[in-house]
């Protein structure tokens, strides 16, 4: 529990300090340092969990729970938080030098960055479903002003859309949470814990069979639409491409890489409750079927939209919607193999997508624009950026030997076993998305660079680390990680895969 406190306290203290630091040079390094310390604490937390010291505890009157499912996402969040802060330091120095933001906004940026990481860590580790909602909403509030950081009309519009759509969507999720609490109060729980711990996931999960299925069914629909807005499921995805493309690039990396995962995580927790509650009714797979439907539609629609994009960051945010759809589908399919694939996909997608956004940040600085038709010849101007973009897109499109191929292959196998016809939709969707990505990528990487295009100072270390990890995961999943994912699969489905 002490380790958890440390993991949460570091970004909290960091957020407070960073809003006070006035020097640009110091705040960038301090942000990096805080993120590194958070990762250290998160790793220690994961290590102690793997030695069987998980469980829960109470901090400031809030119940927390550490189990294999969230500790793995905590480490992922802290890791991507660190690599993005490595990238964001020179990136913001560049933006500041170009005069697009002033020092005050820079301070706000760093403070919000750590607040955002903090609220995601709370969302992941809390046991209380109400606090989970508060933390996810908090993450929205922390990022909404960052999306409009540049104050261009487009950025303000994107941020307003993000705020309104996510705020309204998440309000539905709160209604779903209230209904869950309602079900818990009318279930046969021990009376003493009903009021105080009535929203604790651990308690509800232990008594899931006693929750009223009719209430839980309706609650899940609200929760699906609410958290689904945050995941970016079609048709609630409208805010996502705007917010991801208009905000500063480090924000796009953490939004795509992390926030979407946290929303999906919330939905999985609720799905486990609903599955337990509906087990004895005529439609035990209702939650799974809904997830599959929404996931598949998002996956296919986003794949088609990839072809029409003219803005490089918009294009990759549609690719995020596509992959989130794929994961939602996989969790909906259920069963150990699909769940294992989905967990692995969460990991590799976060790593690859944040790496791509970092590279895209460099590419847009080289070309001076985000328009795909004006970004040309990256490989000739700056081979490092060109090659990493090429390799990153190859990885996200699912080419072997990268980790994304691995998880997609596992998912296709699982689909073949239980819903053979849907394999067809999945394979054609993957092909459409791959074509969409490469169609735009080819001229950007290989085309003729416009006269006078200059290379920029780029720090490709975070990108290389991410891509090497994804490569490693594709070639051989290390034993401890496989064991980790297997235990998470067991937690969700009740069956060990390995």
């Amino acid at each position: 529990m002490r380790l958890l406190l440390l993991t949460l306290a570091i970004p909290a203290v960091g957020a407070l300090t960073l809003t006070l630091v006035r020097s640009l040079r110091w705040s960038g390094w301090l942000n990096l340092l805080v993120s590194a310390a958070t990762l250290g604490a998160a790793l220690a937390l994961a290590w102690s969990e793997s030695r069987g010291q998980g469980g829960g505890g109470v901090i400031l009157g809030m119940a927390f729970r550490i189990d294999v499912l969230n500790v793995y996402l905590v480490v992922l969040t802290a890791f991507v938080g660190l690599t993005t802060s490595i990238f964001s330091r020179p990136y913001l120095a560049h933006v500041y030098a170009s005069g697009r933001i002033d020092l005050k906004r820079l301070r706000a940026y760093h403070g919000m960055y750590q607040t955002f990481i903090l609220s995601m860590l709370i969302a992941l580790t809390t046991d209380n479903l109400g606090v989970l909602w508060v933390a996810v909403e908090g993450a929205t509030l922390a990022t909404v002003l960052l999306v409009s950081l540049y104050r261009t009309p487009e950025a303000v519009e994107a941020a307003w859309k993000y705020f309104i759509l996510c705020g309204v969507g998440i309000a539905l999720a709160l209604f779903g949470t209230v209904l869950t609490y309602f079900a818990a109060q009318h279930a046969d729980l021990p009376a003493a814990v009903q009021a105080e711990a009535g929203l604790d996931w651990s308690l509800l999960h232990a008594h899931a069979a006693e929750l009223d299925p009719t209430v839980m069914r309706i609650a899940f629909v609200f929760l699906l639409v609410g958290y689904g807005t945050k995941i970016g499921l079609v048709p609630m995805h409208q805010w996502l491409p705007d917010a991801h493309s208009e905000g500063p690039t480090p924000m796009s990396a953490v939004l795509s890489g992390l926030l979407l995962n946290v929303a999906l995580y919330a939905l999985i927790r609720f799905k486990m409750l609903v599955d337990g509650s509906l087990a004895a009714t005529a439609s035990p797979q209702l939650a799974g079927a809904l997830l599959m439907g929404f996931g598949l539609v998002s996956f296919l629609v986003a794949g088609l939209f990839l072809h029409r994009q003219r803005d490089i960051k918009r294009m990759f945010s549609y690719s995020s919607i596509e992959h989130m759809g794929l994961m939602t589908f996989a969790f909906g399919l259920g069963g150990p193999l699909a769940t294992f694939a989905a967990l692995l996909h969460m990991l590799v997608h976060s790593l690859t997508k944040s790496a791509i956004f970092v590279t895209v940040g460099h590419a847009t600085h080289i070309a001076g624009t985000q328009r795909i038709d004006q970004i040309r010849g990256l490989i000739r101007t700056q081979p490092g950026v060109g090659w990493t973009l090429l390799i990153g897109v190859a990885a996200i499109a699912g080419f072997p030997p990268f980790g994304v191929f691995m998880s997609e292959f596992l998912l296709l196998t699982a689909t073949m076993q239980s819903q053979p016809w849907l394999t067809l939709a999945l394979v054609s969707g993957l092909a459409i998305a791959c074509a969409g990505l490469f169609r735009h990528l080819h001229p950007m990487v290989y085309g003729t660079p416009p006269a006078g295009q200059q290379p920029v100072r780029a720090n490709l270390l975070p990108v290389l680390v991410h891509l090497l990890l994804v490569l490693w995961l594709g070639l051989a999943i290390p034993a401890f990680l496989a064991d980790w994912l297997d235990r998470a699969t067991h937690l969700i489905t009740g069956i060990h895969l390995l």
């Binding site: 109400g130 909602w133 309000a171």
Partner: protein
């Protein structure tokens, strides 16, 4: 569904909840911005009254605290902030007319019917009280959505957003006797921060499009105009 089977306190809660729903309708149709803010403040006061009655009826101590919190936040602080913003943005005399007022009201009525239809199978026949309350709060939430759809003005949309929060709070208080205290505090904190962020946004939007008519925020479309691309 006979009201006479309810205790007096429950009848009082149902009456107050009905008034909350009525104010939702008023809010939906109210064109003058300042009056709409006042209506919203009254709605917040009614929600606080519901909380107080439930707290007194069930001897639930932490609900007294929630009642005070709601009164301060929803009936005083947020309306005051909105009022001040409206003055600073020179919107005191602003009013907008709904395009199809009758149609919008009918849609709101349909939403109330839909809420009852959705809630009926959920709650057992004998729990008349819970049934009514859950249905009413869902209606308030849905009418808030409707308001955000039909209004083009940013401040009016925020009023819709806040009345959605009111509906959610009504559901939490009356159907489940309040969420755990830590959750309530968290939600209240989020609402307050959201209000501050909204305030920042009003100025950003006005600086960028010189108006608060969010229908004019239409630069970001799926396929931007091609004409601006030079060869």
């Amino acid at each position: 569904m006979s009201m006479s089977t309810l205790t007096l306190l429950q009848q009082l809660v149902v009456l107050l909840a009905a008034l909350v729903l009525f104010l939702s309708f008023v809010l939906l149709a109210q064109g003058r911005l300042i009056s709409a803010i006042h209506t919203f403040a009254w709605q917040g006061a009614l929600i606080a009254a519901v909380t107080l009655v439930v707290a007194a009826g069930g001897q639930i101590h932490h609900l007294y605290f929630s009642a005070v919190l709601t009164l301060v936040l929803k009936a005083l602080l947020i309306p005051w902030m909105l009022h001040r913003l409206a003055v600073r943005l020179a919107l005191e005399r602003h009013s907008e007319t709904l395009r199809h007022p009758a149609l919008v009201s009918m849609a709101a009525v349909a939403l109330v019917i839909f809420s009852y239809w959705l809630v009926l199978p959920m709650v057992a026949e004998e729990q008349t009280f819970t049934r009514n309350i859950v249905a009413i709060s869902l209606s308030v939430v849905l009418i808030g959505f409707l308001m955000m759809v039909v209004r083009q003005q940013a401040v009016a949309q925020v009023l819709g957003f806040m009345s959605i929060e009111n509906g959610l709070f009504l559901a939490a208080v009356s159907a489940t006797a309040g969420m755990p205290l830590v959750v309530e505090l968290g939600v209240a904190f989020d609402v307050l921060v959201a209000m501050v962020v909204f305030g920042v946004f009003f100025f950003q939007i006005r600086a960028s499009i010189d108006s608060l008519d969010v229908d004019r925020l239409n630069r970001l479309t799926e396929v931007p105009e091609v004409s601006e691309v030079g060869p």
